[in-house]
């Protein structure tokens, strides 16, 4: 067992861990030692090939196929230097005031989160894509929404030098996406923060504030770790857990905190999503250019869903279609003619939707797709189909329809054709990439794990700084909000560290 010691240990290098690392980095010049312990590898530039299967295996947990306990939903989250910021599409939205009001966390204001979000928007070069770089797939969504008088907005994106590969979800091959692997982590390392890759923290020893970790040997993917492979005990004055909404609660559960924190793992939310695919009579530009320019929030309050443009790769597209055989082959025969819309349900935080661990300590996500989510997704499919027909699609595949194709002439009947009786979990391909909750912040009763600054109740040296802090779903892409909350946590850690150092 090798020993290491740091003043501050940050577990995870995604939106939360990366932000905390950069914010605390100035302390290094004051003699504070800081390490980021990241389970995944740091990929070499040439390893971002854009190949769907290859990159899924390199970057995602379970190659992007992590299933919930009942196997009705797939969760997509990454394991890499930069975490899931390496693989998401870069949409950067500030949380809405009404969401913060719904969260209802004393001491957490929208004004504060907005201020912090603006900081990261500037840091990450967030801006609107130029008009001439918006492809047909996105334009058609915009046109369709406008024809139906649905409110549609452009997504601000964290990109610099985007070349329109469309491969965002497989890691940008042009180094354009400004995730923590491009911005916060390099800035932190420059100031002396040590980032250790291939390092999985298995358990936190609460009795002596040390981490039991393993560094994995080089497997040919990415750079080798800066530490020798083997088992480690890492002592730290302060620990910040930022391993994501699946692995952060799992780590704390493995560390024995389940009994003292009844809410640990609970209130997991994820914006369950599915894809509609429409076909146009002619080829359109869809996989060229940035895939995600617009979203429609027309139904956010009324039916609790959002619609976004999206464009997926062949295998991902295929597995999201219900049915099989000739009709599947017909739809997939020409990817150039496809328009895609992603619908996301804004799920409520329920205590029974939770992260637990199995007997080996691996995370298990127990999530039930309830009636409200089903209704949201059903209605979202109907509206997405209407948008596609308004944009000129000749036929649409909706996974909860009684027939594989709904033809344009049947567009007036989508409410009947897309129906509850075909909404069958296990038949539909439901996936989620916005994983939230599990270590929710709150007032300190049995329904929360941390305070408003991410400190775990009862353990003043232990913090959480990722999406697992969310008390409810973000109702937008959570990326910027994770960073804004992590910024708050970093401030609290710096204050706490000052207190620890003073008592040393």
């Amino acid at each position: 067992m090798r020993e290491q010691r740091f003043n501050i240990a940050i577990i995870g290098s995604g939106a939360g861990g990366g932000a905390v690392a950069k914010e605390l980095a100035p302390l290094v010049s004051q003699g504070v030692s800081i390490a980021v312990l990241e389970w995944g590898p740091k990929l070499r530039e040439e390893e971002f090939t854009g190949n769907e299967l290859e990159m899924a295996q390199k970057l995602y947990f379970d190659s992007g196929g992590f299933l919930t306990k009942d196997r009705t939903m797939t969760l997509a989250f990454a394991r890499a230097y930069g975490g899931s910021t390496v693989v998401y599409t870069g949409t950067s939205l500030t949380i809405l005031p009404q969401t913060v009001e719904r969260w209802n966390i004393p001491g957490l204001t929208w004004q504060d989160l907005r201020r912090r979000s603006e900081k990261y928007k500037e840091e990450n070069n967030v801006h609107l894509l130029e008009d001439d770089l918006i492809n047909d797939n996105n334009r058609l969504f915009h046109e369709g929404c406008k024809k139906l008088n649905y409110h549609v907005e452009q997504f601000p994106l964290n990109i610099k030098g985007c070349q329109g590969s469309g491969m965002c979800n497989m890691g940008c091959p042009n180094a354009a996406k400004q995730g923590t692997h491009r911005v916060q982590l390099p800035a932190a390392e420059k100031q002396g923060v040590q980032v250790v890759t291939r390092c999985q923290v298995r358990r936190i020893d609460l009795s002596n504030r040390s981490l039991e970790a393993i560094v994995y040997p080089d497997d040919g993917i990415g750079h080798p770790s800066c530490w020798e492979p083997g088992n480690y005990r890492i002592a730290a004055d302060i620990v910040v857990v930022a391993a994501g909404a699946v692995n952060s609660p799992a780590l704390l559960l493995r560390s024995g905190l389940g009994e003292r924190l009844p809410a640990l793992g609970r209130y997991f939310t994820c914006h369950p999503a599915l894809i509609l695919v429409g076909e146009h009579a002619r080829a359109i530009t869809n996989y060229y250019g940035h895939p995600k320019s617009y979203f429609c929030d027309q139904f956010m309050e009324s039916h609790r869903f959002l619609l976004e443009t999206c464009m997926y790769f062949p295998f991902t597209t295929a597995k999201n279609l219900a049915g099989f055989g000739r009709e599947h082959g017909a739809l997939m025969s020409d990817m150039r003619r496809l328009q895609m819309i992603l619908s996301l349900a804004l799920d409520s935080a329920q205590p029974h939707n939770r992260v637990t661990i199995d007997k080996e300590g691996h995370p298990v996500v127990d999530y039930t797709i309830g009636g409200e989510v089903a209704q949201s997704l059903l209605q979202s499919m109907r509206e997405a189909a209407r948008i596609m027909f308004a944009a000129g699609a000749v036929r649409v595949h909706a996974p909860a329809s009684g027939k594989f194709f709904i033809e344009a002439g049947e567009g007036g009947r989508v409410d009947d054709l897309i129906s509850q009786k075909y909404f069958k979990p296990g038949r539909l391909s439901i996936a989620a990439g916005h994983l939230m909750g599990g270590c929710r912040m709150g007032a300190g009763d049995n329904s929360s794990v941390t305070d408003v600054n991410g400190q775990v109740y009862g353990l003043p040296w232990l913090f959480v700084a990722d999406a697992s802090l969310f008390p409810m779903c973000a109702e937008i892409n959570p990326y910027l909000t994770i960073m804004a909350l992590a910024d708050r946590v970093a401030e609290a850690v710096a204050k706490r560290y000052g207190a620890v150092a003073a008592h040393a």
Binding site: L133, G164, Y288, P314
Partner: protein, 134 residues
């Protein structure tokens, strides 16, 4: 292919033919290269996943006997498709999931090959904006 040894292999082949009916260019050679991709993916999964897939293939076959008096391989294409539809729309979520899982592996093997990409007119470029800007 170790994942589908013996009698499971022709069964899996028949399933691929059924699921991919209408998909261009599905030949014997492509079946072999599909199997290599699936084998790789299976190797990265826990052993229980492989057992589950094998069990499901057997369930497809047994239920085919129960429903039609013949194994899946011996059904005509229409009955094969009907039988898989019966799984996909079944009231038992486990059977629906099983078919989704099987389809996922088949599509992984088929669409995971570069050869399939040209057949479906999928030709991404690192500098896709050059196409947009003409």
């Amino acid at each position: 292919m170790n994942t589908f040894p013996g009698a499971l292999r022709p069964l899996f082949h028949a399933l691929c033919l059924c699921v991919l009916a209408g998909s261009p260019g599905f030949t014997e050679q492509e079946f072999e290269s599909m199997c290599l991709i699936i084998e790789d993916a299976m190797a990265a999964r826990p052993a229980c996943v492989k057992r589950r897939i094998k069990l499901f293939l057997n369930i497809i076959n047994w239920t085919s006997f129960l429903r039609w008096g013949k194994g899946f391989v011996d059904l005509d294409p229409q009955h094969q498709a009907g039988h898989l539809c019966w799984f996909e729309n079944n009231s038992l979520v486990l059977l629906r999931q099983g078919l989704w899982g099987l389809k996922t592996f088949i599509y992984m093997g088929y669409y995971g090959r570069k050869e399939a990409h040209s057949l479906i007119h999928y030709a991404p470029l690192k500098k896709g904006n050059e196409v947009l800007l003409g």
